[in-house]
Symmetry: C2
Subunit: 408 residues, 2 copies
């Protein structure tokens, strides 16, 4: 077996694999809300300024500030300006009742809040010849200038921006109804092994239910991938090849990426290794535990990743390689938040292997392990909220030592 | 106007409102993958043990450990045990080649890894009378005991657990195909205001495009709510009442919750306040900026929340009140990660009001503001990755001071 590859080197290899996928894909246009969680494929420039026009930040009186001396002034009250209206120009010597968000009339340059007016209520619009006494005000007071948030033509969102509520809200404020995103990727997900049985079927002696399929499909869906499932493939390489060939015929049914689980170790019954014998696929050890054995390459020209067969190894493979590579190449999903936490217990770790333990980070900044190192401990995994990263050159850690954690 | 209510007190009022919604709803059963991101409605106990049977952690030889003395032993090699097979009992004086994950034969109690065997390869299964020399091994070595992850009947996941890939993977490993979750809630979302125009329509003078609808629908979808939209309602209370009445008729079309935006202040054209005149709805100031004016109550018996009309106020209202209340009452969505960050700049804040600024937290743990305090700054909002929380009793903060940030 070759010298183990570092985690960083293997992740880079996955990035390069996915960069190849990206090159073969285009963009699509979606209604704003369907783009939620996706990344912008192109820069978006503002088709209009925000605010589109100068407007009032308060309910008050729009005035010409130069008309009010230090001692205040009595001004004639003209027709009120509700939000949504296009007001007439403000005549000299006048004050216009104005609502929050309403357009500042031409000629006005400041707003005096209603609280500072005498009387401090708006006159009945039907009342003729009403007046109001207002204190002095500096130009621009309580005026939201046109373009003060963003000017027409400026970069509103750069390509690659992940679109959440605020980003979509901005595009709506700019009057846009659609947005350009990357064409979605389809991933063929095949779980392998004679010992694996579909949940809901009968479990005979020596067999286990497949959790990898559900675990990885859920992970991939969260990451924005379109997942194609085939059911479980047993340990017969010819059956696996048949499944893979069915989804790699050039044309509409050809997937963009293949991910298998199981069958990548050095043992006697390694179905994925056997099936890939004539393909441009490497099987190599990564200096990582769990999830050390990995396959990477292309099957009939379709980029291929072979994950190991234990559920924890599958999740770790996804989180350490595929998910960060997708974030880097596609802009989605969001990278996992990375924090430092203090160990609630002492830990040992094998020399030369980057170990990933599952842990629960508490509010006090400590992290305790969930279950042991075993990659079959899926109940322990389900209790964890973080992956605990222990670099390959670390073999002993004391209680209270700081470790890097990736929040799940 | 009454004395402003604290942020905590208003959030508690929203929790109580939603608790009432919950009481009227039941549970539904979904296929595992459709439950992704939802919360479990009931406890799930393990219908079987994990692992279901003792199995090997390594490729190696299953042995009776008591048969190997300190100096090692030469044992007869019997039929191999692949993963998925139900092996025969191990005869005395024998060693069974066994694959990772394969069932430990009856009688065997330990596995010697293939690397420690002499020879260190498995014999051809067709070869008769093959033997292997093995070193001593303590009982239990490289054996994953049945139930070592979880025992049959034990609590697998408690009610309220949010289901991500690992939790769904566990349920699949337990052979389950469906899961019980809370019935989804439908929310009627109505944006109001004569000044607001649907994106894509013509923008006349004095008007702005509606961003609240998109921003809040996206937020609500992410939180797992089913959103019903009605289009924009203008400033005519009778039109708004008509829209609300249409969705609150007892029966299938009756929504579980109503959220409006705009029209909740003290001004002259406050359509939501006017429409709610005969309903059990309070309009009150919360000691918060932005998002201070809030409405809360019930319209024709349907729980009602009235958010203010500016986009930043809408987002802040959702994040400070509705989202955390949903997390508390329903178990979803996940609470926002709360961190401490150091201010990159000095800040002032109004006395007596909990201020929420929008900021970008950098990798070095500092946070800088995006835009000013103005609640109309939706482009600044779209650049931010966090809400910066400044308590009501804080008026001045220096560069480098620590503040609480909620990561968006």
């Amino acid at each position: 077996m070759s010298v183990p590859r570092s985690v960083a080197a293997h992740r880079q290899a996955v990035v390069e694999l996915l960069t190849g996928v990206l090159a073969g894909k285009g963009n699509i246009t979606l209604p704003l809300l369907e783009a939620l969680g996706k990344a912008l494929a192109v820069d978006v420039h503002a088709p209009l300024s925000l605010p589109p026009f100068a407007n009032s930040q308060m309910d008050g009186f729009a005035v010409r500030s130069a008309e009010i001396p230090d001692g205040g002034a009595e001004l004639r009250v003209v027709e009120p300006v509700p939000a949504g209206a296009a007001p007439a120009a403000l005549k000299p010597g006048c004050a216009a009742p104005i609502m929050t968000g309403a357009m500042i009339p031409e000629g006005a340059d400041a707003v005096v809040p209603i609280e500072k007016a005498t009387p401090n209520t708006f006159p009945d619009p039907a009342a003729a010849d009403a007046t109001v006494r207002l204190p002095p005000v500096t130009p621009g007071t309580y005026v939201r200038d046109s373009g003060s948030d963003i000017g027409k033509g400026a970069l509103a969102l750069p390509a690659g921006t992940r679109m959440g509520p605020a980003q979509l809200g901005l595009l709506a404020a700019l009057g846009l109804t659609t947005v350009e995103v990357r064409e979605p990727w389809s991933v063929l997900l095949v779980t392998t092994g004679d010992e694996v049985v579909e949940p809901g079927e009968e479990l005979t002696a020596g067999r286990i239910f497949d959790s990898n399929g559900t675990l990885l499909e859920a992970s991939m869906r969260q990451a924005g991938l379109d997942v194609v499932r085939t059911g479980i493939s047993g340990d017969d390489p010819s059956r696996l090849l048949e499944v893979l060939r069915r989804h790699t015929v050039p044309g509409d049914g050809r997937v963009d990426l293949i991910v298998t689980t199981g069958g990548v170790s050095k043992g006697a019954y390694e179905v994925v290794r056997q099936a890939m014998a004539n393909q441009a696929v490497d099987f190599l050890p990564v200096a990582m535990q769990p999830g050390g054995p990995q396959g990477l390459g292309a099957f009939e020209g379709v980029p291929f990743l072979g994950f190991p067969g234990n559920p924890v190894s599958c999740l770790v493979s996804f989180e350490m390689f595929l998910r960060p590579a997708l974030s880097q190449v596609l802009g989605t999903p969001a990278p996992r938040p990375v924090l430092r936490a203090r160990l609630a217990e002492a830990l040992g770790s094998p020399d030369g292997k980057h170990q990933i333990r599952r842990g629960t980070v508490a509010a006090d900044g400590t992290v305790r392990m969930e279950g042991g190192a075993g990659s079959h401990l899926v109940h322990a995994l389900a209790r964890a909220n973080a992956l605990v990263q222990i670099p390959g050159d670390v073999t002993e850690l004391a209680q209270g030592d700081e470790v890097e954690v990736w929040m799940l």
